[in-house]
């Protein structure tokens, strides 16, 4: 396949996935703490479904969408040629290796590199899909390292509600239900803020956006 054909196919596939996501979930973005303006950002969200980043990507205005790259697990997205096409070419994902023993590149360095190329990122700091009863799993430290390396970038919490009901783990056919994405106020690392304190603050800021959370 020629490069031009692949890039056209990637763009059409992206549109089709986005239309399908809208059909199934009529996603509603609530810009509670920020406006959808072209600023460099790291959107960090709760992770309960493989559709999470698709939905987040879908509700961004097209201009922002083009410069926003999801951070995704290499072991999942390179498993088959179709997944690799979707991960790499449709969504231009920053593919990181979650297995410390196998990896050749440092995930934080890869994310910083993407930021230095003026991309915004979509990150799931829980590191894996949450199918437990807890609202959020403990955050991995990547978010902290990003905040430390590039302190000027906005870290924006985004709560994705209801998507786990659209497609519970283990089901094949999704059920159409309305999903809501709430964008909170941006966070930055404070001077001398320790890793655990920062991660706890980020986690609390995300949880506060969940429907039914005490305001």
């Amino acid at each position: 396949m020629s490069a031009r054909f692949r890039s056209l196919a990637a763009s059409l596939t992206g549109q089709a996935i986005s239309v399908f996501a809208r059909f199934m979930t009529a996603p509603r973005a609530i810009w509670q703490g920020i406006e959808p303006v072209p600023r460099q950002r790291v959107y960090f969200a709760n992770h309960s479904s493989n559709g999470d980043f698709v939905l987040l990507w879908t509700v961004l205005p097209p201009g922002l969408r083009r410069q926003t790259r999801p951070v995704a697990a290499l072991d999942y997205w390179l498993k088959s040629p179709l997944r690799a096409f979707i991960g790499r070419e449709v969504f231009n994902a920053v593919l990181i290796d979650r297995r410390p023993e196998a990896r050749v590149a440092d995930p934080v360095a890869q994310m910083v590199e993407a930021l230095d190329q003026h991309a915004s990122l979509i990150l799931f700091p829980e590191g894996q899909r949450n199918s437990s009863d807890a609202a959020l799993l403990p955050f991995k430290s990547g978010l902290y390292h990003l905040a430390k390396s590039r302190p000027e970038v906005d870290l924006v919490p985004v709560w994705i509600a209801n998507l786990n009901k659209v497609m519970p783990k283990g089901e094949i056919i999704p059920v159409p239900l309305i999903c809501t994405l709430t964008f909170g106020a941006p966070l930055h690392l404070s001077a001398d803020e320790a890793k655990d304190a920062f991660l706890a603050r980020a986690s609390a800021a995300l949880l506060a956006l969940a429907p039914g959370a005490p305001t």
Partner: protein, 314 residues
């Protein structure tokens, strides 16, 4: 499916919308020049959405029976998506919910399309009612079982069964009215929505006494009486394009406005219970599909059956 009467009705609605758009723009310049008065902004968003809805409905009318059936099937889909977002269900209901959207809904509209009255009249209230809970039961979760299956059945009755009676009007066989059934749909929607709009207008102008303060702050006796009377007057004056005499049209309009009002009331009660202001967000200014359709949902099956019983051969 176009008839001169339909064109007149649509032109009339177009005229009302042109007038409303001009009025909305004048009000905006007077009261909300910087776009900050929420009532005026909402009014203009509503008028803009009305343009879209009227244009879509007109296109469906032009496309004939399949077009109208498809349009209301899509409305059912959007309404069901809104309704089931707010109902109680757990993982054990996944297959039931999938069946609601991808089996029950298409089948119901297919039965309407092929004019199988004996089936679409009982499909949801009998077959689905009995078989759908089996899917949930087989998955083994008994927690809140009765609540889960009842709310799912209610969602289907409201969003699929009731709405499907709008396109079903196309298939009634009324002697002397052949080829003009689309007027029945236009008339139903026009009278019910005019009543809604005029209740809103009268309510905003002189609404004082709330009918059900716990349900809805915007429903007042002044708005209800003023809006219903306006819709009945206008609806009755259009009797010549319907199969009804003038007196029959007046009676029919009374039934339509009452049922429409009840629909708004009942759907408000559900929203209140679930703690939401609107069913959805897809129709700017109005809220969701159910917010706009609640009155039609309650009026359509009654209008269908009264018309069928007294005027139709089948």
């Amino acid at each position: 499916m176009t008839s001169p009467h339909l064109l007149w009705l649509l032109s009339g609605v177009g005229g009302i919308l042109v007038l409303a758009s001009i009025l909305g723009e004048i009000l905006r310049q007077r009261l909300s020049p910087d776009g900050t008065n929420p009532v005026i902004e909402n009014l203009n968003a509503r008028i803009a959405a009305w343009w879209v809805m009227v244009i879509l409905l007109s296109i469906a009318f032009l496309a004939g029976k399949p077009g109208v059936v498809l349009l209301f099937a899509l409305c059912s889909f959007a309404a069901l998506r809104e309704f089931l977002t707010l109902t109680t269900h757990n993982r054990g209901d996944h297959w039931s919910l999938v069946a609601c959207f991808f089996l029950v809904l298409p089948l119901q509209y297919y039965f309407v399309l092929i004019d199988w009255y004996g089936m679409y009249a009982v499909f949801v209230p009998v077959y689905v009612f009995l078989l759908l809970p089996v899917l949930s039961a087989l998955r083994g979760s008994t927690k809140d079982f009765l609540v889960r299956v009842s709310e799912t059945q209610w969602a289907l009755m409201i969003c699929v069964y009731c709405i499907s009676h709008v396109p079903a009007l196309l298939y009634l066989q009324i002697p002397g009215f052949e080829g003009r059934n689309v007027i029945l749909i236009a008339y139903l929607i026009f009278v019910v929505q005019l009543s809604d709009v005029m209740q809103y207008v009268w309510g905003k102008l002189l609404g004082r006494t709330k009918i059900a303060p716990t349900l809805s702050p915007s429903k007042t006796w002044e708005g209800f009486i003023g809006g219903s009377l306006t819709a009945i007057l206008v609806g009755t004056s259009l009797w010549w394009m319907t199969p009804f005499t003038m007196a029959q049209a007046a009676g029919m309009c009374l039934v339509l406005t009452l049922m429409g009002f009840f629909g708004g009331l009942v759907m408000s009660a559900i929203k209140r219970d679930r703690g939401v202001k609107d069913w959805g967000h897809l129709i700017a200014g109005h809220g969701g599909f159910i917010d706009r359709l609640d009155s039609v949902i309650f009026a359509a099956p009654i209008f269908f059956h009264v018309t069928r019983y007294y005027w139709s051969l089948t």
